[in-house]
Assembly symmetry: C2
C-alpha cells in the first residue's frame, strides 16, 4: 500500500532510497524560515488545512479553481484542502484585527495542496513560508517584506550570486494599459497575457494582445526600458539603505498570475535561471475587504516561498549541511552489572541537554565504540567501578582522543 501519487514521505538522513525526501533538510529550511521571520518581528499563525470550497472559488483567479484538491465531506459540505494561505490569513485578520496593533506582521508555514493531472515528479503538496503585513499602505512595508524575503534566502547560505529579486508593479502595467486606451473590463485578461509573455511564442502573445488593442512591440519596449515607477524607486532606495541593493532588478516580465494583486509585485529567481521562481508576492490591498464583505478594509502585502524549488536550489549550489543525529555522547555499557548506574548517567546527561545514545541490550565493547563513530558522536562516556563501591565516569573526546575521569559533574563539564 504505497503512498498516494504526488505525496511525499520524509525520512531521516542518510536517505534510504531514491524516492525518499529528507526530513532533516525540511527542518533545516523550516528553522531558517521561522528564525528569520522572527528576527523581523513577524509572529506565527496557522489555519485549517481544510477550508470551505467557497473561500477559494469566490475570490481567486479562475486559474486556481481547476487545480483544487476539493471534495464533499460526510456532512455534505463542499470543502477543499488549502491550495494557498492568503484567503485563510485574510479571514483571520479580518476577524481579529481590532485586537492587534497595526501593522500586523504574521507568518506561517502551511502544507498546501492541489489536484493536478499526475505527471512524473509533479507534486500535489508542498510547504510554503507565508509572510504578510496588514494595515500599512506605505511602500516602506513593501521594502520590509522584500528585505525579509532576501534575508530568508541569505539565512540559508544563498548570496547575491545565487539569486535576484525581480521587482515589478501592477500599477505600472495598469498605467501602461490605460494610456494605450485599454478597456478596464479586460485589464485582468491583459495581465494574464503579460504573465506568460516571457515564455510564450511572440506570435501567440501578439495575437492575444491584438484584440485588447495593445501592440506586442509596445509591450516589449516597455519591458526593455524597465523604467522604475516612483514607488519602485523608493522601494529600491529603502533596500539600498539596508545594503540589499545588489539583490534587486526592475523587471516588468513579472506581473504574478493571481487576480488579487494591486501594487508592487515581485519574484525571487536563481541567477542562472535554471529553476522556476523560488518565491513570489506583492501587494493585495483589496482582498481583506472582499473576504470580509466590506466589513474590514486593510491594505495588505506578502510573499510565499515553497520548499521544493528552494530545496533543489540549495542542493545544486551545495548549500545544505551534512545532516546527522547530532549525538553528543554515546554511553558505553561494558559491564552489565553497571547497567543501572549507566542508565543513571544516560539520564543525567540527557537532563543536562545532551543528545545521548547507548546500546539498549548487551553488546561487545568494540561494537559499541564503532556505533559511536558511525553516529558521529562527540564523546563516549562510561561508568567505571572503583574501590569500595565507588564509581567514576570516563569521558573520551572522539575528535581529540583526550580522556578524563571524574564524577558526574566532571562528566557534564567534559561533554559541554
Amino acid at each position: 500500500m504505497e503512498c498516494l501519487p504526488g505525496f511525499r514521505e520524509f525520512y531521516p538522513e542518510p536517505l534510504p532510497h531514491k524516492d525518499a525526501w529528507s526530513c532533516d533538510a525540511r527542518q533545516h529550511i523550516f528553522d531558517a524560515w521561522r528564525s528569520t521571520a522572527r528576527r523581523y518581528g513577524f509572529r506565527e499563525f496557522d489555519g485549517p488545512p481544510l477550508e470551505p470550497l467557497e473561500l477559494y472559488t469566490a475570490k481567486s483567479g479562475a486559474e486556481i479553481v481547476g487545480q483544487l484538491f476539493n471534495f464533499v465531506d460526510k456532512g455534505e459540505r463542499a470543502v477543499s484542502m488549502r491550495p494557498e494561505m492568503t484567503p485563510t490569513v485574510s479571514r483571520m485578520v479580518a476577524s481579529s484585527e481590532r485586537a492587534y496593533k497595526k501593522p500586523i506582521k504574521w507568518f506561517s508555514m502551511p502544507q498546501l495542496f492541489r489536484y493536478e493531472k499526475q505527471q512524473k515528479g509533479r507534486l500535489r503538496e508542498h510547504f510554503q513560508l507565508n509572510c504578510d503585513i496588514y494595515g500599512e499602505a506605505d511602500i516602506a512595508a513593501d521594502a520590509e517584506i522584500v528585505a525579509l524575503l532576501v534575508d530568508t534566502l541569505r539565512s540559508l547560505g544563498l548570496t547575491e550570486e545565487d539569486f535576484v529579486i525581480r521587482l515589478s508593479s501592477r500599477q505600472a502595467w495598469q498605467r501602461f494599459f490605460a494610456s494605450r486606451g485599454g478597456d478596464p473590463a479586460h485589464e485582468y485578461e491583459f495581465y494574464q497575457v503579460i504573465d506568460k509573455v516571457e515564455r510564450e511564442d511572440p506570435e501567440v502573445s501578439a495575437k492575444k494582445l491584438q484584440p485588447l488593442g495593445i501592440s506586442y512591440d509596445d509591450v516589449q519596449s516597455f519591458i526593455a526600458a524597465a523604467e522604475p515607477t516612483p514607488e519602485l524607486s523608493e522601494l529600491i532606495r529603502n533596500l539600498e539603505a539596508r545594503g540589499l541593493g545588489g539583490y534587486l532588478k526592475v523587471d516588468y516580465y513579472v506581473i504574478r498570475g493571481l487576480a488579487y494583486y494591486t501594487g508592487v509585485v515581485f519574484e525571487a529567481f536563481d541567477r542562472k535561471g535554471e529553476f522556476r521562481a523560488i518565491a513570489g508576492g506583492g501587494r493585495y490591498d483589496q482582498l481583506v475587504k472582499l473576504l470580509s464583505h466590506g466589513k474590514v478594509d486593510l491594505p495588505a502585502l506578502g510573499f510565499g516561498m515553497g520548499d521544493v524549488v528552494l530545496l533543489e536550489l540549495l542542493k545544486s549550489r551545495g548549500k545544505l549541511p551534512k545532516f546527522t543525529a547530532g549525538v553528543d555522547v554515546l554511553v558505553m555499557v561494558e559491564d552489565e552489572s553497571l547497567r543501572a548506574a549507566s542508565l543513571g548517567l544516560v539520564q543525567a546527561l540527557r537532563e543536562a541537554g545532551r543528545v545521548v545514545e547507548y546500546s539498549l541490550t548487551p553488546a561487545k565493547s568494540d561494537k559499541q565504540f564503532k556505533r559511536a563513530l558511525e553516529l558521529g558522536a562527540r564523546f563516549t562516556a562510561k561508568i567505571e567501578a572503583g574501590p569500595e563501591g565507588s564509581m567514576t565516569v570516563k569521558v573520551k573526546n572522539l575528535a581529540s582522543r583526550a580522556e578524563s575521569v571524574g564524577d558526574l559533574a566532571a562528566a557534564l563539564a567534559a561533554t559541554a
Copy 2:
C-alpha cells in the same frame, strides 16, 4: 466564511477572541516535543496527511473506521485524511528498514483528523507527537519509550505531582483470559470490555463478560492486585535506575483500544484525574509484518501524545510561560533624515541575530518609545548625528534604564 466545524485557527498572543487558539503555545509544545525526542536520539520523519483508505480499514480495529475523515478523490481513489500515524510509519519502516541500523528510533508531529459527530468543543483535528522504536524486542526498549514520555512531559515543567504513567500489559490480560478458559477467537472482544470497565456501569460490564465466560469479580480482583508481570517488573527497575520510578503505577485498567498492541501498554494521566489521557502507547510487534504482507518482520513499540489535553493540563497547572514577540531591540527613528542610516542599523542588528522592530513610517518619538514598552523590547537603539557627518548609536536598556553611546560594534555588544 468561517472555518469548518471542528477545525482550529492559531493566533499569536495575546489572543484576539475566545475561539482563538494560541500559535505560540502550540510552538512551545512542538519545541519541547522535538528537543526531548532529539535528546533521546530519535530522528524526525513525516508522511502524507492523506493516505489510501485501505491503509486504515484493513488493519485497525473497527472502532476507528466509522470516525475516518475519508472521501473519494478526483482520480476515483478511496482516500482518508490520516487519523493516526502508526500505519504510515510502519509502511515507511517496512520499505526502508534495510538502510537503517537497528533499533530505528523515529518521531513525528503530524496533524491528525477524524470525522466525528459534531459536538460543541469536539475537535476534528489535533497534533500528535509520535515516538516509535523498531527492531528491538527487549523490554529495555519499552523502558526507553516510557522514559522519553516522562521526560517529554517534564520538559514542559510538569512534575511527579502533576502526572503518572499507568503501566499495563496485554500479555497479562492474555494470560488471564487464557487461564480462565477464554476462547482465543473472542480475545479482542474481551480487551474491548476491559478497555471500558473503569468508566462503565459494573452491571453492564458484568453482562458483557458473561458470554465470554469471565466473571466481573474475577476481573476486579485481578485489577486490584495489580501484580506486575516479570516484564513489567524489569521495566520498572530500568526506569528506577534513571530516577523515574516515582512516575509509575501498575494499573490493569489500562489496555488500549486499538487492536494491534501485543505487549506492554501504558497511558499518561494527570494525577488529579481531571482530564482524559495525556498520552498512550505500547508494543505492537505484529503490525509491520501485517502491513508489509509478511515481507518485513520487526518488533515495534511507541506512543502518541496529543496537543489538546496537554495544553489544557499545562494551562490549568500554570505551566505556560508568557508569550511575546521576543523583541530584542526597537530602533527609534526620531529624525527622518536619519531613516536610511536607521535602516542600516536595523539590518545590522538583525544580521547579528537580534529580533528588531521599528516604525515603518514617521511617528512621534514618545509613540515609538511606548511601542517599545508594549512589545516588551529589551532595548531601544537610535542613530544620532555627530559633528562632521559622524554618526553614533545610542542604546538604552529598558530594564536598567542604562544608556550607552558608541559605534555599531558597541551597539551590537550592548544588545547581546
